[in-house]
């Protein structure tokens, strides 16, 4: 996969965050340049120290909650950044609306990013949204 991969995360449900984190970590570990844009209901999970459990959307999410050994999505995103240099970018609009300073986010998150810049970068690759 030589193409760059761009992921937009807006959902706050367990299944979508998990799938996005799986895609980001595996692609980044395989050498793909990955950028993830967190907005809407997905962003607040990355406030420093936040341990909120993402609610299940359906049966599979409930199954993941109950089953041991499913890697947590926060950990997978962190690994994507640490092992594969993925960029984890908070949406500047969402930060404003939630009244969160970017310094309040986990250190693996990058600078606040506008949608225009993210989409401009994404012209060079494949874009997925969750």
């Amino acid at each position: 996969m030589a193409q760059d991969l761009f992921i937009i995360c807006v959902s706050g449900t367990r299944e979508k965050l998990q799938m996005a984190a799986m895609v980001a970590s595996v692609a980044a570990a395989g050498g793909t340049r990955v950028s993830v844009f967190f907005s809407m209901n997905a962003l607040a999970y990355f406030v420093k120290g936040d341990a909120t459990e993402a609610p299940a959307e359906g049966h599979f999410g409930e199954l993941m909650e109950k089953t041991k050994g499913v890697p947590p999505f926060r950990q997978l995103f962190k690994l994507a950044a640490e092992l594969g240099d993925a960029r984890l970018l908070p949406c500047s609009m969402a930060l404003d609306l939630l009244q969160i300073e970017d310094s309040a986010l986990e250190p693996e998150l990058g600078p606040p990013t506008g949608l225009t810049l993210f989409l401009s970068d994404a012209e060079s690759g494949q874009l997925l949204s969750f």
Binding site: M22, S25, V26, A29, G30, G31, T67, K68, G69, V70, P71, L76, L79, L83
Partner: protein
């Protein structure tokens, strides 16, 4: 003589075992052998794919009592 490191990732689900392997691979020296233990079915195909993609070396892959034993060598 290079060392063999056993990584026990049994009872974790995709992509946990692969991520464990990659974490240890980063810390290993060139020439080191790593043996990954996994009960995740996808590991048997995912690890060789990753090894091939990033240019390390597959040594062996076998299933013993429902556990995959995948040996790889750090090549670079």
């Amino acid at each position: 003589m290079s060392e063999t490191k056993v990584i026990d990732a049994r009872d974790t689900f995709c992509p946990g075992p692969l991520m464990e392997l990659i974490t240890y691979m980063k810390q290993a020296n060139v020439g080191d052998t790593l043996e990954l233990l996994s009960t995740d079915k996808g590991t048997a195909s995912d690890v060789p794919e990753w090894i091939n993609k990033v240019g390390h070396e597959m040594i062996s892959s076998e299933k013993v009592d429902e556990v995959w034993h995948i040996k790889v060598r750090k090549a670079k």
